[in-house]
């Protein structure tokens, strides 16, 4: 039963992914991207990572997509009239297929080593997913955490400067 559900969500995700790429109007592609994010969120839930799903939805669907849609509206981007030259599209898809083929080849050859870490479904349920991530975030990954704050600061400054000044 669960696998059926998985396949449905996977199908939806893939289709909306293709839609993002193919449809003319950027708004449609933005919306289909949102749809992909939701499918991913469901996957996270299935992977016992509820907090990640929520964060995914908030950050990606909520913040980034809103920002993109806002920018689309701001620049009132018209539907794309001129398609990329056939030559470019073909080469693009060929590269895509290659990437896909190579990763699948890896998957076939590679094999998972099996349980390594201590975390499992029971623990997530018992102590809650947020506590686990919080503990990990503020102990092992304290330095990266601080650096990301710096990163965000830089991004903010960058965005302000870029958007404000008349280049």
């Amino acid at each position: 039963m669960e696998s059926i559900f998985f396949f449905v969500v996977a199908a939806v995700a893939v289709i909306s992914g293709i839609l993002v790429v193919t449809c003319k109007n950027p708004i449609n592609s933005a919306l289909s991207l949102v749809m992909t994010f939701f499918c991913l969120a469901t996957f996270y839930v299935m992977l016992d990572a509820p907090f990640m799903a929520v964060t995914q939805v908030i950050v990606y669907a909520g913040a980034i997509m809103v920002l993109i849609v806002f920018v689309i509206m701001l620049l009132n981007v018209k539907t794309e009239t001129v398609k990329r030259g056939s030559h470019a599209v073909i080469s693009g898809t060929v590269i895509g297929v290659f990437v896909l083929f190579q990763t699948c080849w890896f998957l076939m050859k590679g094999s998972m080593t099996g349980q390594v870490g201590v975390m499992d479904k029971a623990m997530v349920v018992k102590s809650g997913h947020v506590e686990l991530i919080g503990k990990a975030l503020f102990t092992d990954f304290l330095l990266p955490f601080e650096i990301t704050s710096l990163l965000l600061l830089a991004a903010i400054i960058g965005a302000v400067i870029l958007a404000k000044k008349k280049i």
Partner: protein
């Protein structure tokens, strides 16, 4: 319990679609969205491994990927706005100041 590979295959497909999107589309924002999609495909892989390896690090890493994505979104869009002001279009073809 689904096998790990299923998730990996899905993320591979999404990643491939993202790549195709980046390479073929002319609209800067759509390219930007495809990049986002590729990032998310990778997040999915992280979390899948995190679950099957029973190690929380994967998910923490996803956090960092998200922050990067957010920062990138901010700067990227600011760039597009600035570019739009400059060139009246965000078509990637016009970004050719370096053209010979």
């Amino acid at each position: 319990m689904l096998a790990l590979n299923n998730y990996l295959i899905v993320s591979a497909i999404l990643f491939a679609i993202g790549t195709v999107g980046v390479l073929t589309r002319r609209n800067a924002i759509v390219i930007f969205m495809c990049v986002e999609m590729m990032l998310n495909a990778v997040n999915l892989t992280f979390i899948a491994f995190s679950k099957y390896l029973g190690n929380i690090d994967g998910q923490v890493f996803v956090f960092f990927v998200m922050t990067v994505a957010a920062a990138e979104a901010a700067v990227g869009l600011a760039l597009m706005i600035a570019f739009y002001k400059n060139r009246e279009s965000i078509d990637v073809e016009d970004v050719n100041l370096m053209k010979l």
